[in-house]
Symmetry: C2
Subunit: 212 residues, 2 copies
């Protein structure tokens, strides 16, 4: 396999959870947040998988254009990622208000939905893109639970009106698929993509001491 020269790995995402997952892998990286605009229109012609891959590519490409312009960072490998929530084929955005949050949570209650994450790696020599899909199931929620959850404020800035990394966790009783995809970064898939660049995890220098 041809091995590209990589000077640094750049994460084009402000997500604390993605940063935490990359650190967990022992990967050295730097964060450069993209300002690429995420498109979440329900009527757009792209499938959910196409949408997250396009957005991940857009984020990686934007940061790549900045770093590749300078000689000393021309060999940076830029990672972009994007995650969306899909219910019955409809991409759920952030609720416009409490009423919409209530409707979204009622729609998710007792049902399966899907979480898509696209990841894109951009380097001077090669670009690769992939996505992962995970099924997520909500237990049945009472109106009281939904109201209490809305009162916490957590749903208001979240796609699908819930945060799986927050209080919303108590609603998710089952998933099928990649564990880390739901957290915003499909780690096993990323590890395979990094092999395209001659980076095989785990590297011996890495040593993360956490339990099950």
């Amino acid at each position: 396999m041809e091995v590209a020269h990589i000077s640094r790995i750049i994460l084009a995402s402000a997500s604390p959870r993605r940063q935490e997952l990359l650190r967990m892998l022992g990967v050295d990286f730097k964060v450069l947040v993209s300002t690429f605009e995420e498109h979440r229109e329900v009527d757009q012609p792209l499938s959910p998988a196409e949408l997250v891959m396009a957005t991940a590519q857009g984020k990686a490409e934007e940061v790549f254009r900045i770093t590749s312009a300078q000689a000393e960072t021309a060999d940076d490998l830029v990672l972009g990622a994007d995650t969306i929530v899909v219910l019955k084929g409809v991409c759920l955005g952030k609720p416009a208000g409490q009423e919409e949050a209530r409707r979204m949570l009622q729609a998710l209650s007792g049902r399966w939905h899907q979480v898509f994450t696209g990841i894109a790696l951009r380097h001077r020599c090669k670009s690769v893109t992939a996505y992962e899909r995970t099924k997520v199931h909500f237990r049945s929620l009472t109106d009281r639970e939904i109201d209490a959850y809305i009162s916490t404020g957590e749903p208001m800035d979240k796609a699908g009106a819930y945060g799986i990394q927050g209080i919303g966790a108590i609603f998710v009783d089952r998933i099928e698929g990649c564990f880390y995809n739901v957290m915003g970064l499909p780690v096993p898939r990323l590890a395979l993509l990094l092999q395209e660049y001659g980076i095989t995890l785990p590297e011996v220098k890495t040593l993360v001491r956490t339990g099950h």
Copy 2:
């Protein structure tokens, strides 16, 4: 439902991940680590579910005996938890050396195994115990990947010779069941058990600001 008076919630576990998950729920708690000995013998007569529940109860009971002896902490609610890895009906303990770690990882490679977590709540008025089971799949591993992983040192103090919260994450390409169970604390199940004590999550004071 009868509501027990709860003065404090005590987590009888040193696990940083369990503490992180409880914080994520906005639960106020204090940590008092149990010295209860975990039993991991392959030949024991208990099923995996019985084993994790018994150990969770043992941990909770030990800490409860300490706190309940004093009037001001007699109303503490103590949470114990225990997590094990089971492959083909055999409970995998910590590998005794690199050779055993290699055998365990080879056995896990390309197969499904199960993760069991027992949780036990102990209070002066009421005790409840439950468990959750999640299926976990490893992608096929090469000998090179296994050797590199062993070289990181991570497998040596882990049941099943891997840490899902560490580099081991790159091996886990699929799970079926509760997401948080694999992290050591089945959060939706815990939320239901807390309702037995009149504690309904989310409480309005809780506000965790994290993204998907």
